[in-house]
């Protein structure tokens, strides 16, 4: 991640953050239908996002899930999450991640960081599973 940031810095100034307010709009359009308007989730189906270790943990892991989706049992939640990488640009994913994480007091995520994950996982063509995420830590 640091290397990529350094490379990109060579081609111009880094934008420090993505606006979190647009992140809320994106959340309402893309995520709230399942995860709830306040990130409360739904029992047995969709995990809550507010205060979740998956949201507040390594941003690379969260970006990977948003890009390629997640299936299989995640705790007590059984629904399959689709991947959004084909329809959401890096900046949108970064904005929604930033909005979600800032609610929990975590730092922002840049589009450059999301793009790094997109490219490092470019070979992937299936949903993630919890096991994959544990076994293939994303750099």
């Amino acid at each position: 991640m640091a290397l990529m940031a350094a490379l990109l810095a060579g081609c111009g100034q880094q934008k420090a953050t993505v606006a979190a307010d647009s992140g809320h709009d994106i959340y309402m359009a893309r995520c709230a239908m399942c995860h709830g308007v306040n990130g409360e989730g739904a029992p047995g189906m969709y995990p809550p996002l507010a205060g979740s270790e998956w949201v507040d943990g390594p941003p690379q892991r969260l970006a990977a899930i948003i890009l390629d989706g997640l299936e299989g049992r995640a705790g007590n939640y059984n629904a399959v999450m689709p991947g959004w990488g084909a329809v959401m640009p890096d900046a949108e994913i970064a904005a929604v991640m930033t909005w979600l994480r800032q609610r929990d007091g975590k730092g922002p995520v840049t589009a450059v960081e999301v793009n790094h994950v997109r490219m490092e996982t470019a070979a992937r063509n299936t949903f993630w599973t919890i096991e994959d995420l544990r076994n293939e830590p994303i750099r």
Binding site: L3, M4, L7, L8, G10, C11, G12, Q13, Q14, K15, G85, P89, D90, A91, A111, V112, N115, H116, R118, M119, E120, A122, A123, N125
Partner: protein, 188 residues
């Protein structure tokens, strides 16, 4: 036989194996004509995104790609095409691209197009770019472009075969080994 990991040879690719169909595109080349990716079948295509005002990464990338290509046997050089696709089509005219890529190798192709066409190709390949105004604006047109700097290897059958993080380009011998392995599998 097309080269893939586990195809029976013991070769380990230096780059990240992708093995997906490469999205086709047609853009304007440095001579003002049209270049279509699928028209380059039979060659290894090394493709990267950048822009001619790029102060740092693009020159390094293109210098590395020139050295990588020159490190190949002559026949393989002729079957290896470098494509430099601009992420700054407003400033990168075909003429600007010709002057820029020609400095590194007369064999290189520089591609430009409409903003929409460029955005489509960048999206298809997961490339990130964003124009950023500089602090010291000159005539309202002084900006730079942040962009990702990967190199995509498209194999002779038009498959997006291998992805290289930019830091891998410095090892020319290992890059050449990948290219030669892919070309050897494509038949002569």
């Amino acid at each position: 036989m097309m080269r893939t990991p586990g195809d029976g040879s013991d070769y380990q690719f230096y780059g990240q194996w992708i093995g997906k169909d490469a999205a086709d595109f047609a853009l304007t080349n440095q001579d003002g004509g049209t270049t279509q990716l699928s028209g380059l079948r039979g060659k290894v295509v090394l493709m990267t995104f950048g822009f001619t005002h790029c102060p740092n990464i693009c020159p390094t990338t293109l210098a590395n790609l020139a050295a990588i290509r020159q490190g190949l046997p002559a026949l393989d050089q002729a079957r290896t095409q470098v494509l430099f696709i601009t992420v700054d089509p407003a400033r990168d005219t075909p003429k600007a691209m010709k002057d820029y890529v020609g400095f590194y190798s007369p064999s290189f192709m520089g591609l430009t197009g409409s903003a929409d066409a460029i955005a489509k190709v960048a999206k298809d390949y997961g490339a990130y770019y964003e124009a950023v105004l500089q602090d010291s604006q000159v005539a309202g047109n002084y900006y730079t472009v942040n962009h990702s700097a990967y190199v995509y290897l498209i194999d002779p059958e038009g498959r997006f075969a291998i992805l290289y993080n930019n830091d891998k380009l410095a090892d020319h011998a290992r890059m050449d080994a990948d290219i030669e392995h892919v070309l050897a599998g494509a038949g002569q």
